[in-house]
Symmetry: C2
Subunit: 537 residues, 2 copies
């Protein structure tokens, strides 16, 4: 695929991005509670810069000194030396631009209590405006290329924008203008204090994804107002609200535990580009009113090819990838150099999200065990099996669209398959590599082998397909990949067919009410065997 | 617009629909708790038939005799005479086809307790299968053209399909095949008992819209499995789950009170066709596997023109409209006869939903006060104002795309405008009609009068725009319409500009911590005046 748009430079105010790929702000939990930049944080962002992403938005850093878990701070001059050093290291590594995301949040307690925007006085509100302005000035002084204001998810400015903003005064209530008052005052203040030539972006929600929350109807107007008020770019997220979060006894509320949390970071069962319509709606509104303000689309955009299509179809101007770049920071460079096939693909299993939710450092589940940074290797030798899988030798080079008629069921080398209790389980022998095998891609066809799709990647040598349906014939192959993302040739192909239906118990003709002693029937001998097998694994 | 697809017949098994418009099952609360067909129910469905819709899916009727509020029943032969009479009356009225939706639900209590599918024994499950089969047989015997199995929302079969199905046995757990077992057994039983030539459809969720619920990834497989198992059509809904429902003290749980309830019946703030991607995903899967099974798309499809576009772009085969047909049952006939302009347009304000939620008979908020059925009139004389609005005479005939430069702010005849506290309030003088004025359409432009969109309809003569944003110049006109939907010429056009920003309190320079005595500042003289004005109205 040729990338006629994705790898062209893009100008935002005084900043020229080398390409259209954006790393959206992503929590790392790598900093201490002191808020200072440390080595792990530095390594994380230098690694992204090394991979060639166009714009790095650094994880949210607080504009104020309120208590929190591990979180970077930009709320005082004491944080400037570390932030300056980080900016310099990013810039020294490559041509990525870097902007910090700056955040204000309210208080939360382990009891489940949380401070609400209704509790803020006018003086509190004025202070927030000023704190954002000062943070932006510090960002500039530290050598960053711009600043991004966090107005998304469960945080202060997002709560003002929210359709569930319950303030009764000029900063809330039923009028969208009132809800936008503080966010617009913040933009105005940041612009005044940081200067007209300093790129400022806004990240906010395209949809709140909670009962009574706003949708694209309003987010498009919000985008327009932000552009009118001088925002240089718009970046759209979704959900991530406190309102539907699940409170765990004794823990502070985590705003990504409810449905809106799923929508914020769509897990694997969501279609790719699930939130794209939000970017489209805002962009359409902006263009209709004569604004060229770029729109960053995010939300399970899995590949440079998908990203290019989004740009080609004018649905967004810039492409944000958080989890995909965490899985492989080298994605930009690999795609640009024609090596898309070497990308280690995110599977949106959301291990990263679960780690954050459980207060652990955020890593990718596809990285080698115990590593806290993505591996890097310039090796070019792919993993392999010895002896090589037989079908491969016969069909070499055709694996992009294999039409192998000799698909075998059951055992095979190195991949074998077992059908159990309505699930399809794959097992395989480990491949070998001159450096190290990093993982295995699993490819599946549901149409008799005409088309195969990558459906999962895993670091172990076993996987169960829980989404297989009886009556459909599935075929699978795997590919091993190493630390550099070099992919082995495909394994043998296995076929699996679930039995159409477990026998239906004989027809009930006369039962009207259920006798109270009737419970689930005892397991059959076969079921018992299967259960025992599963219990052993 | 020409409707080259919407009004062409469509064959489903032995049933030929006269056109592609479907009335999805919609609760009415018009029946008694006895479950028998009564006059109000009959009037409701005869009214739809009179309007020319292709397929009427009658409101869910229970396949069992469990306690519930007002709900039709098809769980015993005693209900057959009433159901037979209803089918006959629908068929005598026009060429609409009619199928009952048949439902099984579990027990719920005012305490908030609800029975779960985990509580069902195998015998219970077998009974459900049999009850569905018997209900389908009764539907056929009563003269219906087919039957639709309710497998959506918060009800029994939907809970089996759910990704949150927690049963540990062959009817649940992690395997999609297990979750589909009962639904497929029901389809098989219904097919066996009702006959191969009896059209059977399935309504289920394209997305559950709850945390951890399934999305289109799985609903497409479910659709395929249903088709493979003999379903004649697939109808997709979304959400409407118990899992995120809000429990009101002392009331039984209502499954449309949470976010998933919004997604089920997207209110006005959602974009049109918001759930269309679900129908598309299922349809694509069906076609890819060689199935022609028609897919019914629903969810805020507002107009015949929009419906035609959906069909033309192959996103669905049939178009379901519930609220739009409630607002105007004559929508099909009006569109087919070239009178789309006379359609009384649903505004998705969800009065109908609120009535159901509060245990009232379901009517449309646009109908004349106290009516429980949609009005019908063959009158052709539109409402008017005396004297006619001035700009109209000058620009007659141009109102489809008015470019009136003389847009006036403030007062006018009959429409005037007032800007108050960040909202724009419209007031107008009532129009007159030879029969009765039914309501007023409000049209708005946000681009200086180049394009106007219908944004609301209302039966009173006052409306406030809560979605207006400062800095955008808005223009408005209204049109009165009568019981037959005849529209008056547009009123005068008014313009409203919100002041860009209420003055920001002077900058806070030194505040570090908020003094505890500091509260919201006193209102300015202007704010006091505005508050007083609002208090009076």
């Amino acid at each position: 695929m040729s990338f006629s748009k994705l790898f062209t430079p893009y100008q935002i105010n005084s900043m020229t991005l080398p390409n259209r790929l954006v790393l959206p702000a992503m929590v790392t939990r790598l900093s201490g509670e002191d808020g200072f930049v440390n080595q792990d944080i530095t390594d994380r962002y230098v690694r992204f810069a090394k991979g060639g992403v166009g714009l790095i938005v650094l994880e949210a850093m607080a504009v104020h000194s309120a208590k929190s878990g591990p979180l970077l701070r930009i709320c005082g001059d004491e944080f400037k030396p570390g932030l300056t050093e980080l900016a310099k290291k990013i810039h020294d590594t490559g041509d990525s631009k870097a902007v910090p995301q700056i955040i204000h949040f309210l208080k939360i307690a382990r009891s489940g209590w949380r401070q609400k925007i209704e509790d803020l006085s006018i003086a509190d509100i004025q202070l927030i405006t000023h704190q954002y302005g000062q943070a932006a000035v510090r960002a500039r002084e530290c050598g960053y290329d711009g600043v991004e204001m966090h107005m998304a998810h469960a945080y202060t400015l997002s709560s003002f924008l929210s359709k569930r903003n319950k303030r009764p005064d000029l900063y809330g209530g039923k009028s969208l203008d009132n809800r936008m008052r503080l966010p617009l005052q913040v933009i105005k203040k940041v612009r005044e204090m940081a200067g007209n030539d300093f790129p400022i972006g806004v990240r906010f929600l395209g949809e709140e994804c909670i009962k009574g929350g706003y949708t694209t109807e309003e987010s498009a107007i919000i985008a327009l107002k932000f552009a009118q008020s001088g925002a240089d770019y718009i970046s759209l997220s979704a959900g991530g609200k406190f309102e539907d979060a699940v409170h765990k006894e004794g823990e502070v509320l985590y705003p990504y535990t409810g449905y809106s949390g799923d929508r914020c970071m769509p897990p694997m069962e969501y279609p790719d580009g699930y939130n794209l319509h939000m970017a489209e709606a805002s962009r359409r509104m902006l263009r209709r009113h004569g604004f060229d303000t770029p729109v960053v689309a995010t939300g399970k955009i899995p590949s440079p090819e998908f990203a290019e299509e989004v740009l080609q179809s004018d649905r967004a101007d810039l492409i944000g990838m958080a989890r995909a770049l965490l899985a492989d920071p080298d994605l930009p460079n690999k795609a640009r150099s024609g090596n898309s096939d070497k990308i280690v693909k995110c599977i949106y299993w959301n291990i990263c999200k679960a780690l954050d939710e459980n207060f652990h450092q955020v890593v990718c589940g596809l990285w080698p065990k115990d590593e806290i940074q993505a591996p890097y290797s310039e090796d070019t030798e792919p993993p392999r099996w010895e002896p090589p899988p037989a079908p491969l030798l016969e069909k070499e080079g055709e694996f992009e669209n294999p039409r192998l008629s000799k698909a075998g069921a059951g055992g095979g080398w190195p991949l074998s398959v077992l059908v159990r209790s309505g699930n399809i389980r794959l097992n395989w022998k480990s491949a070998t590599d001159n450096e190290a095998v990093m993982g295995y891609e699993i490819w599946r066809s549901d149409d008799g082998g005409n088309t195969f799709s990558h459906i999962y990647s895993i670091t172990t040598s076993m996987w169960t397909d829980h989404l297989a349906a009886a009556g459909i014939s599935y075929q699978y192959y795997i590919r091993a990949y190493d630390l550099a993302g070099n992919k082995s040739a495909p394994s043998n192909i296995v076929r699996a067919d679930l039995p159409i239906e477990v026998e239906i118990p004989s027809e009930v003709k006369t039962v009207i009410a259920r006798p109270s002693f009737m419970k689930a029937p005892p397991m059959s001998a076969k079921e018992q065997t299967v259960s025992a097998e599963i219990a052993q694994t």
